[in-house]
Structure formats: structure tokens, C-alpha cells
Amino acid sequence: MTTKLFKQDIKVINVGLASFYEDLKYQRARVTKVDWRPPAGGNLKLVQLLSKAESEEVANANKIAVRKIVTSSPKLIDIKKARDVIGVLRGNMTLLHSGPPIEWERMSGPTKGGVIGAAIFEGWASDAGQAEELAKSGQIRFETCHDNSAVGPMAGIISPSMSVYVVKNEENGNIAFSNLNEGVGRVLRYGAYDEEVQTRLKFMEDVLAPLLKAALIITGPLDLKNIMAQSLQMGDELHTRNVASSLLLLKELGPSMVNTDFSKSDISSSINFIVKNQLFFLNIAMAAGKSIMDAASGIRASSVITALTRNGTDFGVRVSALKDKWFTAPAPIPKTLFFPGYKEEDANPDIGDSAIMETNGFGAFASAASPAVVQVVGGDVKEALRNTIKMSEICLIKDKSFPIPQNNFEGIPRAIDLRRIIETGTAPIINTGVANKKPGMGTVGFGILDAPMGAFIRAFEEYASTL
């Protein structure tokens, strides 16, 4: 029995009474505090279920899920018309939307606006009234992006003739899709559908998408993991800030764009479009994220979260062991920094599949890499770091493939563990854009929110019952 303790400087972790922490500080001892609270908020039923879920079986299942996540290798391989790659869009008048399933009546303003805009864009309706009639009468069918290997930001409306990125997770062999990003302001994904929106969508289909596709053929498949890791080191958290990643994309594709047969004015207008849109890469990152999470889905007994998403009305959660089953709770309204002229009453509840970034350890989970984003809601560098550390409390690993310089090159926290959410009562934090709740209006600001605990508790109760 020898002890090293007497030869070391003592460094204490205080778990419990705050006065003991203060006393150690008083003595100038090195001490860290744990803000201890009873597990699962003292809810005995959940505590029992938790002890059931602390098993070898779950640990092994989660190891498989973690391996799936960290070994995933998403590559951007093509850009195609949605109807050519997403089966359900081949039928009559079907649209994909973000979040868990929802019917027309319960859709929020921005989702309805997106539906109207897409119906007009597809030529199914000539105006908003007609489009609403089609939706109301059930002639337009709705499917979720998530159920069709796709993800879309905000309203997430993907219609048959829109182009989508095709991302292949080479390690696992599965494919995921996302639409092209339109920029901020009055855009379809925020529920705007007027002339300006239609013109932009048409430009994207006629010029931008074909040009990018041609350039991609010249450049070859793009290693997205590489771009994402680099941009994290350049101040992006890859959800609400995609400044570096968008430029890195242009660096990869720009030279090839110039070498296509497209006209100088097409190339020029496309490059202009990309450089003006600081979120251009977001949709590609989202498709990468989806391809990774689908690979980790459906692993028996795994408590890893595979989807966090919102449709503007409901917040939806998926857990690996329960594969495609949705657990929902009302979507909260984010704490928002409003653009001039907008206020609290204008904000729609949380919306979009873009929380696939948080599901993957980016966005709010990678806040430390991107303090500028926390500043948006009045936070500072320390708060950014705190958010990342807080999220590491509910994750199984820190992925060294994605180091954050500002956190001593620690990896981003990844593989969200449903058990840890329940145990600590800490919900995932999400960085997000905020939509105007009225259809046809657009963006009102950027915000941050805690995912609603109700959805996780319901998911956990059912998950634990399968063990």
C-alpha cells in the first residue's frame, strides 16, 4: 500500500456542499466544483430505468454506434434532381418537409409558406390560394425528409424538380440528400414564396445546380469530413456559422467551375451567389450528418440519439435502438437575437432538420470553436466553452477527428447518449435560425434553445422497456 497522494499537489473535485468548495478556495487549494443534483431530478421511476440501462449490453451496443459514427466517411458525390433519387417524389404531388410527420392543418406558418412556394414552383398551382386548396384537400401528400434519407433546413421543403446534393457515407455504403441553400432573408425555407423566391429557385435549378454538378465531376468526390474539420478550426460551428466551410467549398470547386463549358456570366453569377451566402455549405454538412446518423440507426439496445429535428410545431427525437420511431414534444421558441424591426411575437417555434448538426456534435455542441455564434445571444467566449463542456456531459465521446483549438484541441462531443440526458436533466442545446411565424415572410433572427425534455423522457421510457 503506497500512496502517491502525499507527494503530489492536492487537487480536489468537490461533489456536494458549496461551502466546502469555498473553504478550499479560501486556502488557495486547486479545486473544481460539481454542481451536483440528484440523478434524473430525483424521479425514482427514471432512476430505476437508468440502472436497468447501465448494462453491458447497452455499453456494447453504444460502442458499435460510436464506431459507426467516428468511422463514417461522407463524400459529396453528385447533384441530382430529387425525383430521380428520392422514390416517394416520383408519384403525384408529393413534398418532403422537415421534422417529424405533420398534417397540413397543424403546420406552422413557415412550413405552409414553403408548401405554397413549392407548389407554385412545381407548377401545381398558380397562386397561394390554389396551392393552399391543394394542400387542404389532401391532393398534395406530405412525407418527412428524415424518412427518405434526406434533410432540409427550416421548412425543409423538397419538391420533385429541385436539385439535391447526393452524399455517400463510403464506410457504411448509405446515401443521404439535402437541397441547395438559398441564402437568408425572404427565402422558401423560411416560408417566403413570392416572385423573388421563385426567380431565385429557378436560377438555382437552371444555372447553379448544373454548374456545381459539372464542376464536381471535374474535381471528383469531395471529402466532407476534411472540409468540416478544417472549418471548425476556422471559427465555424457548421450550423449557424458556415463562413469558412462555404469558402473551403468554393476553393475545391471554384477552379473546376471555371473549367466547365458554362458561360462566363453563369459562372460569375454562381460564384457571386455562393460568396454572398455565408450558409451555403450548411445543407451539404447536413446531408453528411444525415448519412452518418443513418449509419448509426437501428442498433439494438443502443441509446445513441440519431435525430433531433423540428417541423415548426413539434420537436422530434429518434434513438438508435428504436430506429424510425418518433418521440415528440411541442417545439419551443428559441431565445432570439432579432433582426431590426422584428420582435418576440414574430418568432415561430423552432423549425428545421438542421439540428442534425447538433446530433452530430456540431452547432451548439461545438460552440467553443465558434464564440461569435454565442455572442449572437449575448454570450461570451466562456459561455461558448461552457456550452461545449456541458454538451460533453451528455455525449459518449470526444471525437479527436474534429478538434477544437479553443478547448485545448479536445474533440467535439459526439454520440449523444439518451441515458445521460435523463440522468443529468441536461437537454441538447441547439443553435438555430428563427423564422417569422407568418407564412410568406422569411427570417427574423438567430437564436439558441434547449431541446424539450418531454420528448427525451418519452423516448427513454420506451427505450428502457425494450431492454
Binding site: 500500500m1 503506497t2 473535485i13 456536494g16 456542499l17 473544481t32 460539481v34 456541458k390
Partner: protein, 521 residues
């Protein structure tokens, strides 16, 4: 109006070479603005642009000429000189206060697991959660190779055994459960005193026992004080932590002399402990609070906590270890006894002891027994002397006020004096009570001004003709400062003795009008 502005006192301060970001400074500025009497203020980096802003806001002083872009300036404009000075002092505090908040160590974690992940070089986990959660937390700590101190009580004995067996196997200290006091590498944990580092190492199963011994050793200093928790010497645990502690101190080169403190363990466990002490070979002073230990080889028995401290000290200084009865000469004590007994009526014959330290209460009972004065107690030495804590005292009665019934829902009597004060007043109304005997424990975790807390109750007891005798357990470097507390208590008319044992003896002498001198040899 302009004159009014000019007339207001303005004070400034420049913190040289001190850079903070503007958001931080704005926050300090905002806090200062709210201070009493402050009309306006500026807390900024000393750039020319900022100095211009200060000028425009009538917040410029000549001193600001010395402030450069790497210096922070503070200017306070308040309604009078005193308010101005106070606000300036507060502003300086704020600069430092939030500054401390910026160190990574201020980061708090939600779970022990994450804290360990983020602070991998931590080496001791102090656990004070409710008892039902302490096992899981301690297990997490041990599985991550951290030493633990478990302050929490009410941990099942089987769980304690599991933790201690695991810790022992891994070479980790498991102090507790129900361990209130430890000093490791000079840092006090839980209820402990700030004691100089030195050659004496302590292992104890008794919290206030450790506090008394370490405080009395402040002159020469201690190497380590390891708390084992109150159940360690039970048959079931068999002294795992005490034995590991003895071995650790045996190997520790800083430790020249060991002191072992415990209430009397069972004969089997006692034998085991003495055997390990013999094996270690270093001089070891053993105090089993009344359990007799004979001097043998390297083992030296001690009757009281004070004796344990003094004998260890004697060994270190090369003197002959001997027992202490009183520090002061007999004549001085006789005078003191006369002074106190003069105030007593013939009816007043008994001592009521109101203790915050369980070990100190037990030690005082033991000493009274040795003076042929059996004491009734809620924690008695023998079953026959049991008295309910809330019952009216009979004869000599000592109450341990740190037991479960007193601390349910309210802080420990070392922190919260309300029950003890009530009881002092109650006892002082009893006709047959001569002396109220107290222990006053200072140090980390304890009340910051016990003398102030006791003032009213002690005054009432004095008015009611009682003698109040106490010992103060603490050191100069404790937050309360020993001499400040002693002099404040003496001003209240409390007779202060340098140890719990001496206080108990004097109480018996006063109550017996010197009748027990014959027992004190």
C-alpha cells in the same frame, strides 16, 4: 448646475498593465453605477479615445494622464467623499472578482464523470451528497483512481466495505463515509483547522478529536491528518482505512511520529491496529478516548486528546512524554476556582455540558468518570447513564448536540448556535446547576463568529449566577482567528482553558468547590 457637477468629489484609480475586454469592463461599469451614492462612473482601458469619452462625461481626473492603452482606469463620481471612496474600493474588488471567475478552475461540471474527464490531474474527490447517492459517486471516483473523502453519512455498512476494499486494493485513500475532518498536504477538508505543516501524522476515526489534536499541534505542525469515518473500526470494516493510513504515514518520510485517535474499538480491531503500529516502527501515540493503552515499544498511550498532542510533541523535541493536567500553576487555578465558587449558592453543585463535538463530549464524560462523577448523556459511556437529549438534565449531564435529532433540517451546532443558545438559557434557570461547560470549535466549515453567537446566552447564564467554562479548538490562521475568539469570550466572562480536557477538569473543580483535586495527579 455646472458648478454642482464640478463640486462633486471625483476619485480615480489606475490599474497598470491590466488588460480586459470591453464587454467585461462594461459589466463592471454597470455594477458600479448601481452602487450607493454613485452619480456616474467610468471603467475603461486608457486609450485616448476612452479618455476623451471620460472628458465628455465630466469624468476626467488629472491622474488619467498617466493611463495608457494597457491600463484600466476607474473614475467614480459620487454624492460625497465617503461614498466615492467606498465605490472605488468596490470597483477594484469587481475587477478582481470577475477576474478570478475567468480561470478554468471556476468552471463547474454537472457530473463527477465530466469533472474527472476535464480535470484528469485531480487526485481527491470530496463527496457530501445525501447518503443514498454517496456510494455511486465514490465508486466513480475510485474507478478513476481518485482518492476520496466521503463526508456524507447514512451509507450502508456493506457499501462502505465494498468501497474500502476497492480503495485498499488500488492504493487509494477512502476517508469516510461519515468523515468530517481531514488535512491532506496542508489543505483542510470538511470541518478542519488551518494548521502548520510538520512532522506529526494523524489517523483518526473521530472528527473533533482530530481537530483538537491538530490545533494543539499548530506550533510544531502536522504532516497529514487522515480521517477514517466513524464506522471504520467496527468489526465489519475492521479498520481498513486506519490500517492503510498507518501504513501510508509509516512510509511517508515527512512523518516522524504517528498519532492514532478513536473511540475504543473492539478488542479484535484494537489488537490489529496495535500490531500494524508495531510493524511500522515509528513512535506512535495512541488515544482511544478512555480505552486504556499501555506504553510498549514504539507505542505510547495517551489518556486525553491533549496528552496525545503533547506526547507527540515531546517525542519530536526529544523530551520525555508526560501527561498534562493543567497548563497553569495550581495557585492560579485555586484563585480562579475561588473567584467562580464565590458566586455560587450551596444548591449549585452540577455541571451541564453542551457540546458541538461528539469526541469532545465523550472525552469530558470519561474525565468526569475518572473523578468519580458519572455523567448522564444522550451519548453516554454506559447504557445506564442514557438520558434523552431533550429531557431535563439530572446531576452532571452532557449533551452531544451534533446528533441526528439536532441536525435534521438545520445546520450542525458548530455552524448554527440556536439550539445550543436555547439550551444554555434553559440550563441557567436550573437551581442546582453550577457550571455550564462548552466546547467552541473554530476552523473551516464552522461559524465565523462563535463568540458573537454565544454572547446573549452567556450573558443570561452569568446573570443567573452560573459559571461558564469552555475550551476553544482552533488556530491563529483559522478564518475566526483563535486569539480574537478567546479574548471576545473572556470579555463575556467565559473562563477559557487551552484544551477540552482542562476545561472539563476545571468545571468539576468549580462544581465540587475543589473537591476533586484528589483525583488529578
Amino acid at each position: 448646475m455646472d458648478n454642482y457637477i464640478y463640486d462633486m468629489p471625483k476619485k480615480s484609480f489606475i490599474s497598470k498593465g491590466d488588460y480586459r475586454d470591453s464587454v467585461f469592463l462594461m459589466r463592471v461599469n454597470q455594477e458600479c453605477q448601481k452602487l450607493d451614492g454613485v452619480k456616474a462612473c467610468a471603467v475603461m482601458m486608457g486609450t485616448d479615445a476612452n479618455k476623451d469619452i471620460a472628458k465628455d462625461a465630466w469624468l476626467y481626473t488629472d491622474e488619467l494622464a498617466n493611463a495608457g492603452p494597457n491600463d484600466i482606469f476607474i473614475v467614480i463620481d459620487a454624492i460625497d467623499e465617503a461614498k466615492c471612496e467606498a465605490a472605488l474600493a468596490k470597483a477594484k474588488d469587481l475587477l478582481n472578482e470577475v477576474d478570478r471567475g475567468e480561470t478554468a478552475e471556476e468552471m463547474s461540471y454537472r457530473t463527477l464523470r465530466t469533472a474527472i474527464e476535464n480535470e484528469p490531474d485531480s487526485n481527491l474527490v470530496l463527496i457530501s451528497t445525501p447518503g443514498e447517492y454517496a456510494f455511486t459517486e465514490a465508486l466513480t471516483a475510485l474507478n478513476n483512481d481518485k482518492n476520496v473523502m466521503i463526508f456524507s453519512s447514512d451509507v450502508p455498512i456493506d457499501d462502505e466495505l465494498k468501497l474500502k476494499q476497492l480503495g485498499s486494493k488500488k492504493g487509494l485513500l477512502v476517508m469516510g463515509p461519515d468523515c468530517g475532518t481531514a488535512i491532506i498536504n496542508g489543505i483542510g477538508l470538511g470541518f478542519s483547522n488551518i494548521v502548520k505543516r510538520g512532522p506529526i501524522g494523524i489517523v483518526g476515526a473521530a472528527g473533533t478529536g482530530i481537530q483538537e489534536v491538530t490545533s494543539l499541534l499548530d506550533d510544531v505542525g502536522i504532516s497529514q491528518a487522515i480521517g477514517t469515518g466513524s464506522h471504520d473500526l467496527s468489526e465489519k470494516i475492521g479498520g481498513i482505512t486506519m490500517i492503510d493510513g498507518i501504513r501510508m504515514l509509516g512510509e511517508d518520510q515527512e512523518t516522524k511520529v504517528l498519532v492514532v485517535i478513536s473511540k475504543p474499538p473492539s478488542p479484535a480491531v484494537t489488537g490489529k491496529i496495535l500490531e500494524y503500529l508495531r510493524k511500522v516502527g515509528k513512535p506512535a501515540v495512541v488515544n482511544f478516548i478512555g480505552g486504556n493503552v499501555n506504553d510498549e515499544g514504539n507505542i505510547i498511550g495517551a489518556l486525553t486528546l491533549e496528552d496525545a498532542a503533547k506526547k507527540a510533541l515531546a517525542i519530536v523535541t526529544g523530551a520525555q512524554p508526560s501527561a498534562t493536567i493543567f497548563s497553569k500553576p495550581r495557585e492560579e487555578l485555586e484563585a480562579l476556582i475561588t473567584q467562580e465558587t464565590k458566586r455560587l449558592s450551596d444548591k449549585q453543585k452540577y455541571v451541564r455540558g453542551l457540546f458541538s463535538g461528539g469526541t469532545l463530549c465523550a472525552e469530558a464524560q470519561m474525565l468526569f468518570r475518572n473523578m468519580n462523577r458519572p455523567v448522564r448523556s444522550n451519548v453516554p459511556l454506559e447504557k445506564g447513564l442514557l438520558i434523552q437529549a431533550s429531557a431535563r438534565g439530572i446531576g452532571d449531564t452532557f449533551i452531544d448536540m451534533g446528533t441526528e435529532e439536532f441536525v435534521r433540517g438545520i445546520p450542525h451546532p458548530m455552524i448554527d448556535f440556536r439550539f445550543r443558545n436555547e439550551r444554555i438559557i434553559r440550563e441557567s434557570q436550573e437551581d442546582d446547576v453550577a457550571v455550564i461547560l462548552l466546547d467552541i470549535v473554530l476552523g473551516l466549515g464552522a461559524n465565523i463568529n462563535p463568540a458573537g453567537e454565544l454572547a446573549d446566552a452567556v450573558a443570561k447564564a452569568r446573570v443567573n449566577g452560573k459559571s461558564v467554562i469552555a475550551s476553544v479548538c482552533g488556530t491563529e490562521r483559522d478564518p475566526q482567528s483563535l486569539h480574537l475568539q478567546v479574548s471576545a469570550l473572556e470579555k463575556l466572562g467565559v473562563i477559557i482553558l487551552p484544551s477540552n480536557a482542562q476545561a472539563a477538569r476545571l468545571a468539576a473543580l468549580v462544581a465540587s468547590r475543589g473537591g476533586v483535586w484528589g483525583y488529578l495527579k
